[in-house]
C-alpha cells in the first residue's frame, strides 16, 4: 500500500455544529502533506481524530493498512498548535516523561534525547526549568519530544510559529531530513510560502468539507490559466499594446524591471501554442521578459475558498 494514512468519509458533530462532513484524505508514504484551510474549517478536528483524541461519528481511519487503534499512538508524533510544557518541571525530566508516555523505555529515551539535544545544541538546558527558557527554546524542546519516538507519521500544526528565521530554517531542515529517513509528514499551516516549499501533496478544507486535494503539481496544473507575463521594449507603448490586443486577450501586468517596458499579461486559448505568441511578439518588439504565470498556493487557496 502506498498510502500511510487513509481517512475515509469521516464526519464529526459537536452538538448541532458539524465540524467535519465526510472528509476523505490519503497521505502517501514518505511525503509531506499540506493540510490547508481557513480558521475554523475543521483541520484541528481532523488532526485530533487522527490522534485519537476525539472519535469520529462516522467514517474510518487506516494507518499503514490497519484500522486506527490505541496501539498506533507510538506511531504518531503530534505537535499541536496549542502547545506548551509543564512550566515548573525540568527540561530533561519532562522530555523523559513525555517519551515514556509514547512507549519508549527510560534508557532508550535517555540516549535518544542526548542525541537530539547535542544535535540541536541545547544540551545545557537539561536541568533548567521550562519557565526559565524563552518561547523559541521551549519550542525546540517540543519539537524534539514530538519526533523522539521516531514515529511513522508526524503531524505538525504551525511548526514554525515562535521561531526566528534561523531556527525556523533549522527545524525545516530537520523535517526534510526526517522525511528522507522515511517518515511521513502532515503539515498544517497558514504560511503558504512554506507549503509551496515543502509539500508534495495538499488538501484544502473549508467549512467542514474537503474542497480540493491532490499532488501539488497537479493542483497547480489544474489551476493553470494559460497566461503569460511579458515585458516588451518599444518606442510607443500604446500602439504596440493596441496591435497585440487585436490578436490576443491582454491586460496590464505589474512586475519589476530595469527599463521602462510595456508590461502585459497575455491569455492564450487552451489549444494555442506559446511559441506562436513568442514568435509574434519578437516580430513586434524586443522581448525582455516571458514567463508563464503559475498560480501560487496562496492564489489557489484564496480563489477556491472564495468560490465555495
Amino acid at each position: 500500500m502506498n498510502n500511510l494514512l487513509e481517512v475515509n468519509k469521516v464526519s464529526k458533530h459537536f452538538g448541532e455544529y458539524k465540524a467535519l462532513n465526510e472528509v476523505s484524505i490519503a497521505v502517501p508514504k514518505g511525503s509531506i502533506f499540506g493540510l490547508l484551510g481557513p480558521n475554523g474549517a475543521g483541520k484541528t478536528t481532523l488532526i485530533r481524530i487522527i490522534n485519537q483524541i476525539t472519535m469520529p461519528d462516522s467514517g474510518t481511519v487506516h494507518l499503514d493498512g490497519d484500522f486506527l487503534s490505541p496501539m498506533h499512538i507510538k506511531d504518531i508524533g503530534y505537535l499541536p498548535e496549542e502547545r506548551g510544557l509543564y512550566k515548573s518541571m525540568k527540561v530533561g525530566e519532562q522530555a523523559l516523561y513525555l517519551a515514556q508516555l509514547k512507549g519508549l523505555s527510560k534508557t532508550e529515551a535517555n540516549s535518544r534525547l542526548k542525541f537530539w539535544f547535542d544535535r540541536l545544541d541545547i544540551g545545557d538546558w537539561w536541568n533548567k526549568k521550562i519557565q526559565e527558557l524563552s518561547k523559541g527554546m521551549a519550542q525546540k524542546i517540543q519539537f524534539v519530544v514530538t519526533v523522539l519516538h521516531e514515529p511513522k507519521l508526524l503531524i505538525f500544526d504551525e511548526p514554525f510559529s515562535g521561531f526566528d528565521p534561523i531556527n525556523a530554517n533549522l527545524i525545516k531542515d530537520e523535517i526534510l531530513r526526517l522525511r528522507d529517513l522515511g517518515a511521513t509528514v502532515i503539515f498544517s499551516t497558514h504560511r503558504m510560502e512554506s507549503v509551496e516549499e515543502l509539500c508534495d501533496d495538499i488538501a484544502l478544507i473549508h467549512k467542514s468539507n474537503k474542497i480540493l486535494d491532490g499532488k501539488l503539481v497537479d493542483v497547480k496544473r489544474a489551476y493553470k490559466i494559460n497566461t503569460f507575463e511579458v515585458g516588451l521594449r518599444s518606442e510607443n507603448h500604446d500602439v504596440l499594446k493596441q496591435d497585440i490586443a487585436e490578436k490576443f486577450s491582454v491586460s496590464n501586468a505589474h512586475f519589476k524591471t530595469l527599463e521602462n517596458e510595456l508590461k502585459l499579461n497575455i491569455k492564450l486559448d487552451q489549444d494555442e501554442n506559446p511559441n506562436a505568441l513568442l514568435n509574434y511578439l519578437t516580430s513586434k518588439a524586443t522581448v525582455s521578459h516571458f514567463v508563464e504565470l503559475i498560480p501560487s498556493v496562496n492564489d489557489i487557496f484564496i480563489q477556491t475558498v472564495k468560490n465555495n
Binding site: 483524541i53 506548551g84 513525555l98 509514547k102
Partner: protein, 437 residues
C-alpha cells in the same frame, strides 16, 4: 498501553517537590507546635502566681478546711466585721474575700456565703469553692440532725445503666461520648482531606490547561487515565503530607518537652490544680476507667476497615468532581459557580453527622443520609462506632462505589471535552452538552 503508574509517579513527584508543598508540610506543624509551646510558656508565667484568698468565717465551722496549697494561700481572719475585712482585702493585692455569715446553716437565707473581689474570679475557682463548701456544710447539717455520715457513705451506690442490644452489643453513656469523638474525628478528617486535596487536583488540571500541554499529553494517554493518575498521585502526596505531619507532630512534642522543660501533660498551673482536685473525685476516676473500657469495646476492626473503604470511596467520588471542574474552566476564579454544588452536600453531611447522629444514630434521617452517596462517607463514618448492621454498611458502600463509577464516567466526559476548550467560561447547559459529545 497502561501509563497509569507513570502518570501517578509524575503527579506525586511534582506535588511532593513543589516548594510551597514542602514549606506547608514542614512549616505548619512547626507553627502549630510553636503556638502550643507559646501557650505553655505563657501559662508557665502563671505558674508562680499565688492566689491569696482571705476567709472571714463568722461561724467558725468551715475555716479549718482551708489549708494552703501550692498555688492557693488562705488567710483566715477572726473577730472582724465584714466592713473592716472588705476594706482590708481591698487595700492588699489578694484575690478576694470569702465571707461566710452566721446564717449559713439556716436554710431560708440564700445569700449566706459571698465572695468579694476586684475582678470577677474564674468560673472554675468558684465552682470548686462551692463544691467543697457544699460537701462540708451538708455533712455538718447531717451530723447535727443525728445522721451517721459513715453509714450514708457506706450505703451510697453508683448507677451506670448498661445498655445492651438484643444482639448482645453492650453500650453505655460514656461509650456514646467516645463513639461520638471517634466518628466525628473520622468524618471531619475526610471532610478536610476532600477540601484540601480536591482543590489541589483541580489546580493541577487547570495548570495543564493553562500551560497548553494537555493536547500533547492526551495524544498519548487516554483522558480518563490522566484523570485517575492525577487523582491517585495527588492523594498519595496528601497521605504523605498527613503522615509527615503526624511524625513531625510527635517529634516536636517530645522536643519541646525536652528543650523547654515543659511537660505538656503535667502542667501545674492554678487552673490545673482545680482540675486535678476534681480528678481525685472517685466518680470521675471511675468514668475515666469506663472511657478506656469503652474504647476497647468499640468495633475497632470494623471501624478501621470501614474508615479506609469509605474514606477512599468518598474521597475519590469528590475528587472526580474537582477534576471535572478543573477541566471545565480556564482559571481558578471561574471555579466558584461550580464549587457550590460540591461543598453543599459535604457541609450538609457534617451537619447531619454533628446534630442528628448524636441525637439518634439509627434514626430515619441518619440512616437515609448514610445511604446517599454524596453524604454517606461522612455520615456513615460517624454512625459506625454506634454499631451499624453489616448489610447497611455493605449496601451503602456498594452505592458509593456505583456512584463513583458513574461519576467518573461523567467527569471523564466533561474532562475530555473541557481540557481542549479554551477561552470561555462554560455554563451548566454546556457541560451537559459536553457529556453528549
Amino acid at each position: 498501553m497502561n501509563h497509569l503508574p507513570l502518570i501517578i509517579k509524575r503527579e506525586y513527584l511534582t506535588k511532593v517537590r513543589n516548594k510551597s508543598f514542602i514549606i506547608m508540610t514542614f512549616l505548619s506543624p512547626i507553627i502549630f507546635m510553636g503556638l502550643i509551646a507559646l501557650v505553655a510558656y505563657l501559662s508557665q508565667l502563671n505558674k508562680d502566681k499565688i492566689r491569696v484568698v482571705t476567709v472571714l468565717d463568722e461561724t467558725g465551722l468551715v475555716q479549718d478546711m482551708f489549708n494552703n496549697t501550692e498555688h492557693t494561700h488562705y488567710n483566715i481572719l477572726e473577730h472582724m466585721s465584714l466592713q473592716d475585712a472588705k476594706k482590708l482585702v481591698n487595700e492588699t493585692d489578694g484575690t478576694g474575700l470569702l465571707h461566710i455569715s452566721l446564717n449559713v446553716s439556716t436554710e431560708d437565707d440564700e445569700n449566706t456565703i459571698s465572695f468579694y473581689s476586684k475582678e470577677a474570679p474564674s468560673l472554675g475557682f468558684i465552682t470548686d469553692l462551692e463544691r467543697r463548701l457544699e460537701k462540708r456544710l451538708t455533712n455538718l447539717n447531717l451530723k447535727r440532725k443525728g445522721v451517721d455520715i459513715d453509714m450514708i457513705n457506706a450505703s451510697k451506690i453508683r448507677v451506670d445503666i448498661l445498655q445492651e442490644s438484643f444482639e448482645g452489643e453492650k453500650t453505655s453513656k460514656v461509650d456514646s461520648v467516645i463513639k461520638l469523638i471517634f466518628g466525628g474525628a473520622a468524618g471531619y478528617l475526610l471532610f478536610m482531606f476532600i477540601i484540601i486535596y480536591g482543590n489541589m487536583i483541580m489546580r493541577s488540571v487547570i495548570e495543564e490547561k493553562t500551560s497548553r500541554i494537555i493536547e500533547v499529553i492526551i495524544s498519548s494517554v487516554k483522558p480518563i487515565q490522566l484523570m485517575l493518575g492525577k487523582i491517585i498521585g495527588t492523594s498519595l502526596a496528601g497521605i504523605t503530607q498527613f503522615v509527615i505531619w503526624l511524625i513531625l507532630g510527635g517529634v516536636l512534642v517530645s522536643l519541646t518537652s525536652i528543650f523547654f522543660g515543659v511537660d505538656m501533660t503535667e502542667l501545674q498551673t492554678p487552673q490545673r490544680e482545680i482540675v486535678n482536685q476534681a480528678m481525685e473525685n472517685p466518680e470521675i476516676n471511675a468514668q475515666i476507667q469506663n472511657a478506656a473500657n469503652a474504647f476497647f469495646s468499640l468495633p475497632l476492626v470494623n471501624l478501621v476497615i470501614a474508615f479506609i473503604l469509605f474514606f477512599i470511596g468518598g474521597y475519590l467520588l469528590y475528587s472526580s468532581f474537582y477534576a471535572a471542574i478543573g477541566a471545565a474552566v480556564d482559571n481558578e476564579t471561574d471555579t466558584q459557580q461550580f464549587m457550590m454544588p460540591i461543598i453543599m452536600p459535604l457541609v450538609l453531611a457534617v451537619y447531619i453527622g454533628v446534630f442528628t447522629v448524636i441525637e439518634d444514630p439509627h434514626g430515619t434521617v441518619s440512616t437515609i443520609f448514610s445511604f446517599i452517596p454524596l453524604t454517606s462517607p461522612v455520615v456513615m463514618l460517624m454512625r459506625i462506632p454506634f454499631g451499624v448492621p453489616l448489610w447497611q454498611q455493605i449496601v451503602s458502600l456498594l452505592l458509593l462505589i456505583g456512584t463513583f463509577i458513574v461519576t467518573v464516567w461523567f467527569a471523564a466526559k466533561i474532562y475530555r471535552v473541557g481540557i481542549l476548550m479554551y477561552g470561555k467560561k462554560p455554563s451548566y447547559k454546556e457541560l451537559i452538552k459536553w457529556i453528549k459529545y
